[in-house]
Amino acid sequence: MTISFITELPVLSILIFLPAIAVLFVPFLPSNHAVRWFTFSILMIDFLIATLLLVSFDNSTAQMQFVESRSWVPSLGISYKLGIDGVSVLFLFLTALLGWICVLASWNAIAKRLKEFMACLLAIQSLMLGVFCALDLFLFYVFWEAMLVPMYLIIGIWGGNNRIYAAFKFFLYTLAGSLLFLVGILVLYFEGGRTFDILALMDISYELNLQKWVFVSFLIAFAVKVPMVPMHTWLPDAHVQAPTAGSIILAGVLLKMGAYGFIRFSLPILPDASHYFAELMQILSAVAIVYGGLLALAQKDIKKLIAYSSISHMGFITLGLFTFTSNGITGAVLQMFNHGITTGALFLFIGLVYERTHSRDIPAYGGMIKAMPLYGIFLSIFLLASMAVPGTNGFVGEILVLSGTFGVNNWAASAGVLGALIAAAYLLGLYRQMLLGPIRIPGAAKVWDLNKRELCCALPLLIFVFWFGLYPKPFLNILRPTLTNLLEQTLGAGL
């Protein structure tokens, strides 16, 4: 289905800059209530635009669509170039979806300096959408790096007790990673005949030695973002300290950017180096899956548990990508989307209960399914999805990744299976301790079941859990041409 008017408008620019422009109005809004509704409606409009893009996306081609190109710094060959393919359109949609959910999740949770908080949410939304649309490396880098600023503020101002340490660590880790990425970009730029155009860079075949160095510089940036073991230590701190909306954005979108970087740059631009490092990446991924899972098993703090489970789940994604099989890569991309939905939902639900009880201590809870039945049901479904039970979204992604890995690297695949088992152990453990047994509520706080606003956040996520679990075909159709093309690019070169 194509809708003609949207191809004529600079729709990606509108999508990206709508929230950024909205930031300018936030300081002048009269009341906190107005700020909430304003932010919500802006992000809702953004979501509708993203939906429109998804619906009118032409899934018969691997070409970039909705391309916009303007010169920006002509003397350096930098242009303002945007465009989306099957992978980016999916993540635009995910980002836009989580955007308004974050506003709803912070409706009452953010008590102080609401205006600044909503401004940060709008700004980060803009920048994240920009990352997924950018087709110019310089532009990409600007979005990628600028994103740190609002996220730093979100963690550092509205976070938990140890928020300042966590914010610092988050900022410096990611900054150090991305600065080397910048040098890598410059090397590609000069070796590729002074262009930052990502599509043009994909057509250049660099010599292997150069590819290796650039790959490493990219790897550090992406591995910090994903995060891959051993660059993961910022994540638990950041997640635990961040406010709910911050955690949702971190888990839902920011972590995906590392994997997106592999898909957009490492695999197509540096195919030979990707093959060269494939085994290392598979091993690192397998380690992340098992090690993250084992760490999660030992946690007593709900947020920490989910944070470590993220590391484990992100391991599946990098594992799938570096198998260079159709199943592996497709599974990885689906897993990226699913992890955004499921883990986003889990952080949302931790936030909801934390708002009521102000405790994240797992042993302090018990029988919550009796105290808050609706909440209990939703949470159990999301836990099951995170566990990759058949019928939920998690299953589709993980099974594809594993089927892609068997035959390529059996050890890594076995580690993946083991990781899935460990995931079942810690998630079911969480389920048992928190939801079952006699009712225990930390601090004897008053709890109430989900209200309408909270249901509005939870329902769309639930829908996607089952939609992906039972009928992923429409999404697979969108992805297929892009991923086939990606696979050709990575396999076609060199080997």
Partner: protein, 489 residues
């Protein structure tokens, strides 16, 4: 100057007139300085405002004249002085820096209770000195400009008479300044001995006959370079920077970190990259080492500073190191990246100093970093501007500071100095730490002191110009880039 006796008998009036015209902007500023001195003798209630208005007016006049003169390159005073796009570009930076300094001085002088006309006159004299530095093509004239600038700043540094730190800073600056000038002069005299001229153009041809491995030439080059590196605060000639930055009145610190530095870099570029580019093999490796050391020391030592001005002193050392990378790259792109960097640096540095002046609690108090605590709570706008300047200093997009660093790195990678680029980016990650720390104080800590912040129109103008410059350079870098690159022949 061989035919001196013959030529001096007939004075070419047209050439003199042309020379005078070419130095019109300098003359305007000197007239302004004298007028400021005289005006300061007339007691008047609004003397402070009148003086700063006069200074800004004169600077605008001079800038306009420079703008129209800059259209065509011309030499003056028997080839000692030149007006070209390069010098005009730097003069624009100097005008900008000085005008903003004047605008932010008024409030500070009232707060510190040292309102005096000499302040403005000296500031203008310092400006003339730096202007002469960027236009001079003769070692002697360069030296005169340098000394004029330095002498004015010595006095300005000690302007807070009742403040021992200010006095101490002034004295230290005089001693160190004299020392570095002496080294430089020695280098210049060696050059004169080797080439028989002080004129850069003639020296350029004379150099062709010299061996590059001549130890005397190496010594001369290094001495002259060391003298200039003193002025920009490069390691190991940086010791004076923190003490003097801390002790000087804040607007003068702001001025020092912009104008003399830009002028010194202009001189370095003119001497070592353009006229005497032949000398490059002698210094390029040293320069790379010095640049790395400067960045490293500046970044690491800034981490532990408790006084905001000291911290910015080390930050300015780190920035000087980054700038020197442009010299190492040596290409045309390297030079224009330095020029762009200096312009953007002017915006962000003066912006953050304007904030420091606003936060100043009054007579005889130092400026601890904690002054920034909780700024976001009571003054959201100011806090946001500081956030912008600090992220720009740290080099985070989409601010101008990012593009400035990016462009230097581009020039560096282009010349194949990839390892240097990697070191530079890692050190700027270290440097990011202390800028972020101030942002943390502003946004994440409760307010401590209750500094009464009173924003006047001039300082608001400074803030708005600095904000606009910092943001525009990040969002639309090509305007600034064309301006800088276009100023290179």
């Amino acid at each position: 100057m061989n035919g001196l006796p013959v030529e001096s008998t007939t004075i070419d009036l047209a050439a003199v007139a042309q020379s005078v015209l070419a130095t019109g902007p300098e003359i305007i500023i000197i007239i302004g300085a004298c007028a400021a001195l005289m005006l300061s003798l007339v007691p008047h209630q609004r003397q402070n405002q009148l003086l700063s208005a006069l200074c800004v007016l004169m600077i605008i006049l001079a800038a306009t004249m420079s703008y129209f003169l800059g259209d065509y390159p011309q030499t003056a005073y028997a080839d000692m002085f030149v007006i070209d796009d390069f010098s005009t570009y730097f003069k624009m930076i100097l005008y900008l820096g000085t005008a903003l300094t004047v605008l932010m001085s008024g409030q500070y002088l009232i707060k510190e209770a040292v309102v005096q006309g000499e302040y403005y006159a000296l500031l203008l004299f310092a400006l003339v000195g730096t202007m002469i530095m960027v236009s001079a093509t003769d070692l002697l004239l360069i030296y005169i400009g340098l000394e004029l600038q330095a002498l004015s700043i010595y006095v300005l540094t000690g302007f807070l008479k009742a403040n021992t730190r200010s006095n101490e800073a002034s004295l230290k600056y005089i001693i160190v300044g004299a020392f570095s000038s002496a080294i430089m002069l020695y280098g210049m005299s060696l050059f004169y001995g080797l080439t028989g001229t002080t004129n850069l153009n003639e020296m350029k041809t004379a150099l062709l006959t010299l061996e590059m491995s001549d130890p005397m030439l190496i010594l001369a080059t290094l001495f002259m370079l060391v003298g200039l590196l003193f002025k920009v605060g490069a390691v190991p000639f940086h010791m004076w920077v923190p003490d003097i930055y801390e002790g000087a009145p804040s607007p003068i610190t702001a001025f020092m970190s912009v104008a003399p530095k830009a002028a010194a870099f202009a001189v370095i570029i003119r001497i070592f990259m353009q006229d005497l580019a032949l000398l490059q093999p002698i210094w390029v490796l040293n320069m790379a080492g010095i640049a790395v050391l400067t960045m490293a020391l500046g970044s690491f030592v800034a981490l532990v500073q408790k006084n905001i001005k000291r911290m910015l002193a080390y930050s300015s050392i780190a920035h000087a190191g980054f700038l020197m990378l442009g010299l190492v790259a040596g290409s045309k792109e390297g030079i224009s990246s330095m020029m762009l960097y200096l312009l953007i640096y002017t915006f962000m540095t003066l912006g953050i100093f304007a904030i420091i002046i606003l936060l100043n609690k009054g007579v005889l108090l130092s400026e601890p970093i904690e002054d920034f605590s909780g700024l976001a709570k009571n003054h959201a706008g100011l806090a946001f501007m500081s956030l912008l300047f600090l992220f720009s200093l740290a080099g985070i997009p989409p601010t101008g500071g990012f593009f400035a660093k990016f462009y230097v790195l581009t020039a560096l990678v282009d010349q194949g100095y990839i390892v240097l680029a990697v070191i530079a980016v890692l050190l700027s990650a270290v440097a990011a730490w202390f800028y972020i720390r101030i942002i943390m104080l502003m946004y994440m800590e409760p307010a401590t002191g209750s500094a009464k912040i009173h924003i006047t129109l001039p300082i608001l103008t400074v803030l708005l110009i600095a904000t606009a410059g910092t943001l525009m350079a990040g969002l639309f870098p090509s305007w600034f880039l064309e301006f800088a690159a276009g100023s290179l022949r």
